[in-house]
Amino acid sequence: MKRPFAWRVIALYIFLGLCVLSVIYRLFDLGVIDRHFLLQQSKARILRTVSIPAYRGMITDRHGQPLAISTSVKSIWVNPQLFAPTAKQLHQLSQLLQLPQSFIKRRGKKRGDIEFSYLKRRIAPALADQIKALKIPGVFLEKEYKRFYPAGEVSSHVVGFTNIDDQGQEGLELAYNKWLSGKAGLKKVLKDRLGHVVANVSLLKKPVQGRNLVLSIDQRIQFLAYLALKNTVNKYHAKAGSIVVMNPKTGEILAMVNQPSFNPNQRPSDTHGRYRNRAVTDIFEPGSTMKPFTVSLALQSGEYTQDTMIDTNPGWMQVGGYTIRDDGLNYGKINLQTLLKKSSNIGAAKVMLSLKPHNYYILLHRLGFGERTRSGFPGEATGTLADRTIWRPSVVASMAYGYGVAVTALQLAHAYCVLANDGIKVPVTLLKVDGPVQGQQVISKSIADTVIHMLESVLQRGGTGTRARVPGYRVAGKTGTAYVAGPNGYYKNRYVSSFVGVAPVTDPRLVVAVVVYEPKGQHFGAYVAAPAFAKVMGGALRLLNIAPDGLESVKVR
C-alpha cells in the first residue's frame, strides 16, 4: 500500500538533526578551535595569584638572646565605599585610635574608586580586638609585622633599626637587610566561590624566607659595658664615649656600646648625634695609647732592647719649633718599660726620631690603622694615616705619642688584639664565629709578648694605670690623654681620655678599649677611663668564667 509522503516527520527529523549537528559543531568549536574563551572564563572565576609572604629573620646575640624580633601586629584600614559609622561608633573609634574624628572622616570619605585607606598602622593586638568588636562596617584589620628591640638602648647602635616598610635603615639591620628580609614568593591557586583556596596550581616564584642573624655580641657583657660607660659619661659630663670589647683569638666583637644612645622602639626625632655608632664612625687622635706601637717598632728595628736606656733629661725637649714636655716631671734615664709605665712623651719622641718614620707608617698600616676595619658594619670610618715624602721632625716626634694619626675606637681595640694574640692579626667580625680563625702574623710573637709584659707594669705601683686593676687577674694596658684639635690648634681644655687593656696576661682572652670624649673636671685617661675599664674587664672575665691568674695579689684561703 502506498503511504502518503510523511514529509512533516522527515522535516522534523532533519530539523532535529540540524540542531544536533549545530550543537556538535559548537562543542567542537569551543573544545578544539577556540579553547581560549572557556579557559579564560574559568580562570577569571577561580584562578588567582597569591603572594607567599617572607618574614624578616631575627637578630640574636651569640647565646640566642633576641636583639630584634618581628611580631605580627594589626593595621586598621577603611574601605571608603563601605564606611558608614554611626556617631557613637565614630566617637569610640576616635577614642581607641587616639585620632581626631575629622581625620577619620577624611580618610573614610568616598573619593573616586578608592577602596583602601589606612587609618592607623601597627597597633597593639589588644587594641585591634577592641576595634574589631565595634563591628563598624567598612573597617577592616590587616596583619602586618613590626620590629621590636628587646635590648633597647643598650644594643641600639650595633643592631640599628628598620623603617615602616621593614627595610633596614641603620646598623646591622641595614648591612644584612637582604639576608634578613628574604623575598616574597608568588603562586597560582584555584579558589572556590567562597574565597577558600582549593588547589595549588603552580609555584611562580619560590619564596626565600628571612634568615636569622647570630651576632658575636654577648648581651651580658654589652649591658655591663653600657652601664659602666653611661655612669662614666654622666659622672664627668662628657660629650660622648665608646667601649669596645673583643676576643683577640677570634676577632669577635663581644660588646660595642656608645653614649649618647637612643631607644630604637621609640625613636626620638631629635638626633643630637645619638644615632651614630661612634666606636666605628668617629675618629680621634689617640694620644699615649699609641706608645706601645712605638715601642714595638723600636724592638722590631733591632736598635733597641729591653735594657736600652733613653735619656729624658731635663724633662722637656725642643723639636722643630715645639716643646715636648713630660707633664713637668723629669724621669731621667729610662728603659722602654718605664717609658710605657710613666707614659713619657720625651722618651717616645727620642725613640721615634732615631728610627725611620716610614717603617712606623708601615707598621701602623699593617695593624689596621688608616683603612676600613671591614667588620661588616656600614659606614665605617677609615681614620687618617698618611705616609709623607718629607718627614718633619716635629711630625715624627708627635706621631710617637699618638698625634698626627686619627683612629676609631674599634681600630684601637683591633690593634691591641694583635699584641694580645702573639702578633697575629685576626679579621674583625660582628657575627658569631665557629671554629678556629686564620690570622696573619703582623708582628713577631716575641715582640708582641715583650710589649704586653711591659704594659703590665703600667698597672703596677708607679704606673699611670693603677685604677684599671682587676683583683685576681694579671692585666696589661695603656692610658691615654689626648688634646682635641680645633681649627686654630689644640684646645687647652678639651681632651679625649682613653684606656685600652688586655687580660689575662698569661693567656689573653679579652681586649677592652674605653674612650671618653671631652670629660669635664678630670681629664686624664688614668682617672676617667681606667676605672670604667676595670669594671668592664672584671665583669667580663667573671662572666666568661676565665680563671684568675694573678692570685698572688689577693688573699687566698
Binding site: 631575627m58 633576641p66 628587646p150 649591658f223 683583683p471 692570685l551
Partner: protein, 113 residues
C-alpha cells in the same frame, strides 16, 4: 504515532537478528566496558574529593603553623622583655636589695691539693 516509532522498531529488529553466540560475546565486552567506565568515573570523583579534603586539611595545618609561629615569636619577645638585663638589675637592687660585691669582699678559694 506508529510512523514515529517505525524507525525505532526497524533498528531493534535489526539488532535482534544476530546469532546467539555473537550476541553473548558482544554483550560481555560492552558490559565490561561499561563497568570499566563507571569504575574509572567513580575513581576520578573519589580522588578529586580526597584531594580536596586533604588540601583543606593541609591549609588548616598551615594556618595552625602560622598562628603558632606567631605565638612563639610573641612569647619570645615577652620572655626577652621580662628577662632584660636592665629589668633584672633594677629588681635585684631595689626589690631584693642585692649588691655587686666589692673586690675587697671577694675571697679566692684555691683547690685542695
Amino acid at each position: 504515532m506508529r510512523a514515529t516509532l517505525r524507525p525505532v522498531s526497524l533498528i531493534s529488529w535489526k539488532w535482534s537478528s544476530s546469532t546467539l553466540a555473537q550476541w553473548r560475546w558482544q554483550h560481555i565486552v560492552v558490559a565490561l566496558l561499561v563497568v570499566l567506565n563507571l569504575t574509572t568515573a567513580f575513581a576520578l570523583v573519589y580522588t578529586k574529593d580526597m584531594h580536596r579534603r586533604l588540601f583543606i586539611q593541609y591549609q588548616g595545618l598551615q594556618m595552625t603553623h602560622l598562628l603558632q609561629s606567631n605565638q612563639w615569636s610573641k612569647l619570645l619577645l615577652e620572655q626577652s622583655t621580662w628577662s632584660s638585663q636592665s629589668r633584672v638589675q633594677q629588681l635585684a637592687t631595689t626589690r631584693l636589695g642585692m649588691v655587686s660585691p666589692n673586690p675587697h669582699k671577694i675571697v679566692m678559694v684555691s683547690e685542695a691539693k
